[in-house]
Symmetry: C2
Subunit: 379 residues, 2 copies
């Protein structure tokens, strides 16, 4: 039985349902980020009520604090943080590489040491050295009780030469194979078994993306992610990467575009056949007072080159909202927009009230989750 | 018709009901602090659901940002912040004096210039000079649409010589008279009329407290506050001040002890005949991870010298809670204690998640509001 079922196809857009050990999740979906076991400012029941059926937890952060063993003793991550839905955890690899520079700056030592065996890294807060192998990553994610676990991959920076991208993607394939082997050796029962996803790499090179996809599909996973995007490459390249990769991914498996993106990028990616997204944009932008506002009359395109005109962003701290006693977004049904004026929210940001970040996060997450609802409901 | 009605007397403890233009409030009550038009981290409906019927807004902070005129244009403070209950505003005087030193340090200029006419002060953020007279304070509070407004008083620091305390309390009386005159000249209708409270000063001197109370009662107000406490005086002195003052306050008017206090101080003050409280302790301590926990078996004393053994405080950041998978306070009915473990809350504080301050504030406010319920319900 396949975990993912297609329910409706709108051109290349796939509307379906993904079954995890914690329940079913409607696709395409957006995962709010619960990096350290909490969506910033928000309670699990609020996140659920905004329309989220799945959140993303960061293995790297949870591994360092409070530690996977502690979460395992608490039951699992669902029980530790009281999240009633499904959870996807990343492998930890992305932060090992992206936060390596920070550790290096602070502690002098080489922040990241990569070998065939795995990756050694320095905790940028404590300075402690850690080692993460593909097997360690899977073991950690199993302790967290995640519903969708990701293989450990190397995520090379942008730009990255073709030669290195090839070496890297081949190691990522070998690591994916080790992850799969370790995972299968656990002999988990069907009801306890998370889904295991592999991650396509290959940088900005068509031949390498294709090669990576083919190697991973050959090994066989429950789903496939497209990694190594949103690392600084030009925006046009993202469309190319999707074009190059998706034809080599099985039609009956879910596809996850990691770490993206802006609303129009999500619409374009859904229209190109992607099913799963995660991104810090709604919560992080919210904490900085930038809010997503619907253009009410605008239909969502079902084209791969979706336009941006279905929404706008406003910076609520702007002077012009000082005496704007209208609702933030009258067409939104979130807890902010049902009651609070732009003038009030601006005031909260101006004086630094913690409620500001909370209300703005609530609104922006609702915008993203409503966007996914609109994409799923479209004819 | 009196605004306050006594319903039950338990020794000196007064259980009653206070009618404001926004509704009735059960006494004795505790007011959560909404300094800048928001209780830190919490939504108005949450504060209401915790059991609060009235909150306190700070005239000083709202006057500077966003300004009383803006709030007036929004409707009033209730509508600006969406608070469905009653609001008490202070006069602004306390912060003018207590934050004067900060402004002086930052901008060099004399932070506070006191004259018979009023008080000139420097905004500690912008450096702008402002002037606040007794009449200005009342005008501002009327613009805010407050339900209980306070006269402008001078709040001398501790320690303060008898001679200065006398000069100061007599000016406070003259200012109270000007406030009352300005207030009455507005000729507000009964349904629009807030209650006007005077503030007893007189430092730590029995004769001066008595003198201040007598002068103000002679003028006649809707209620009486005891000010100039919690400014650094020894804890025993508080009991003395209550003993010296309350006999000179009318039995049929509500009594408000400003800015206090610890739970045992509130219990002792209620048992000495005080009806109203406000304090930053529950929310501020909460944000620092210090939580109030009930000792379940302990009755609340109805003695003026109430003991502290009905509760304890814990510092949730302590290492010993790292793997404590019990609920924070199993006898508490708040949104934290119904679901979240000590280990989880500790984790949130350790990694600096904003949800930590939110959950701890929620719990501590519930503790304080439940304390008031227990005091009102006692036989």
């Amino acid at each position: 039985m396949e975990a993912w079922k297609l329910k409706k196809l709108i051109k290349y857009r796939r509307v379906g349902e993904l079954a995890t050990k914690s329940g079913s999740v409607q696709t395409p979906f957006f995962m709010p980020i619960a990096t350290k076991g909490a969506v910033k400012h928000l309670l699990p029941e609020e996140v659920r009520n905004l329309g989220a059926e799945i959140v993303l937890g960061n293995t790297y952060h949870l591994l360092l604090r409070p530690g996977a063993e502690l979460i395992e003793r608490a039951g699992d991550l669902h029980r530790f943080m009281n999240w009633p839905g499904s959870i996807l955890t990343d492998s930890g690899g992305f932060q090992v590489f992206s936060l390596g520079a920070r550790a290096q700056k602070r502690f002098g030592a080489n922040g990241v040491k990569l070998s065939e065996e795995g990756v050694e890294f320095v905790d940028p807060i404590s300075g402690d050295r850690h080692f993460l192998s593909p097997e360690d990553s899977i073991e950690t994610q199993l302790k967290l009780g995640s519903d969708i676990i990701m293989v450990l991959d190397e995520c090379p920076p942008y730009p990255c030469a073709w030669e290195y991208a090839l070496v890297s993607l081949e190691r990522t394939t070998r690591w994916a194979e080790r992850c799969k082997k370790y995972f299968e050796n656990q002999k988990l029962s069907l009801s306890q078994r998370p889904l295991l996803f592999a991650i396509v790499q290959g940088g900005v090179y068509e031949d390498l993306r294709k090669e990576s996809a083919k190697q991973l599909v050959e090994l066989g996973f429950d789903g496939y992610a497209i990694g190594g995007v949103a690392v600084g490459e030009p925006r046009e390249t993202l469309k190319d990467i999707l074009e190059w990769t998706t034809p080599y991914l099985p039609e009956d498996k879910p596809r996850y575009l990691m770490g993206l993106g802006k609303p129009e990028e999500i619409v374009a990616a859904v229209n190109a056949g992607i099913d799963m997204f995660d991104c810090v944009i709604p919560t992080r932008e919210g904490r900085h007072g930038r809010l997503f506002i619907w253009n009410e009359q605008t239909e969502l395109s079902n084209d791969k080159n979706a336009s941006e005109n279905f929404y706008k962003t406003i910076n609520i701290s702007n002077e012009k909202y000082k005496e704007d006693f209208s609702l933030v977004d009258p067409s939104c049904d979130c807890g902010l927009c049902s009651k609070y004026t732009r003038a009030y929210l601006r005031h909260l940001f101006t004086v630094g009230e913690p409620l500001a970040g909370r209300l703005a996060s609530l609104h922006n997450l609702r915008f993203y989750l409503k966007l996914m609802e609109r994409l799923r409901e479209a004819e």
